[in-house]
């Protein structure tokens, strides 16, 4: 990965804000950063290729569409980790998945179009892997800040 320069960092910070629904949604940001639209887009493309940005687009809220999200965790023995991982990740409901330092070592988010979909997906993962899936639905949201300063 090439070193990020200050323009890259400004760009990463500003791209985490909401972009306008305009015909040229990047034009205002390009002006602000003193870049042409083409120069801005090629920087964004490079940051995507290098994996600094994982995605650009709308962030959908499954709950607002009548669906639901749920954080889930499993305690997977080391020897089975890769096998269980393949089965868990194969499910389209698994939106992201992290390995963490705890007896509960696999933490993933289920995103489903219906609230019942969460239980169905968790049950299916238990059946397929033979390990319990603990569900931690959010009861109260205190803040979602999102931004990470580059």
């Amino acid at each position: 990965m090439s070193e990020l320069d200050q323009i890259d960092r400004d760009l990463i910070n500003r791209l985490q804000d909401d972009l306008p629904l305009d015909h040229h949604p990047f034009a205002g940001l390009a002006d602000e950063l003193g870049l042409s639209e083409d120069a801005l887009l090629s920087r964004v493309a490079r940051l995507r290729e290098e994996g600094v940005l994982t995605r650009f687009g709308p962030f959908f809220d499954a709950a607002a569409m009548g669906g639901d999200f749920c954080l889930c965790a499993m305690a997977v023995p080391d020897a089975e980790f890769e096998t269980v991982l393949t089965k868990v990740n194969a499910r389209p409901e698994v939106a992201h998945n992290y390995e963490r330092t705890h007896q509960l070592n696999m933490w993933f988010v289920l995103a489903c179009e219906t609230p019942e979909g969460i239980t169905e997906a968790a049950d299916a993962i238990e059946r397929e892997t033979g390990h319990a899936v603990l569900c931690f639905p959010k009861l109260q949201e205190f803040y979602i800040g999102f931004r990470v300063a580059a």
Partner: protein, 161 residues
């Protein structure tokens, strides 16, 4: 908000992201055989109703040098959780903060706060600030560092026939 067939086609087309071109909505609209104005006004309605939280980029924390990503978890007295959770969530270094159910006996924690930093020492310092805020209401805590991103795709709608 209930999505109609056209809205669902739009969500399916955009869940992988927008094309990185100067006029991405024109391209997506052409692919879906919709006028661009109809596409953007439907997207605006989804933003207004909260179906779309924002149209933006998702950075990879690791690649930005935020290599220590700690999920801090806390067992907080239930009666004080709402007030204290709001204070923890307002900290500038906390990116997500939720009350979640305990799963006893294995999991006594009811407050989750994500803390990112460039080192585990930095995360530990930030965690100490949360410990101070929780004070006597705190019954126990832990921190789970992420050691590997196993998957990161975002929401995927199933195709409907």
């Amino acid at each position: 908000m209930t999505l109609d067939t056209t809205d669902r086609k739009i969500v399916e087309a955009l869940q992988g992201g927008l094309p990185l071109i100067a006029a991405p909505y024109a391209k997506v609209a052409a692919d879906l055989a919709l006028p661009e104005r109809e596409l953007t006004s439907r997207l605006q309605a989804m933003k207004d109703s909260g179906v779309i939280r924002r149209i933006a980029a998702a950075p990879n924390h690791y690649k930005l040098g935020m290599t220590a990503n700690g999920m801090t978890v806390w067992d907080v007295d239930d009666a004080q959780l709402a007030a204290l959770g709001a204070r923890v969530g307002a900290l500038p270094f906390v990116t997500h903060c939720y009350e979640r159910p305990r799963a006893l006996p294995m999991w006594p924690y009811n407050l989750f706060a994500m803390v990112h930093g460039s080192s585990r020492e930095e995360v530990a310092e930030k965690r100490a600030v949360i410990t101070d805020i929780l004070g006597d209401a705190l019954n126990g805590c832990d921190i789970l560092y992420s050691t590997r991103i196993l998957k990161k795709t975002g929401l995927r709608l199933r195709k409907r026939g």
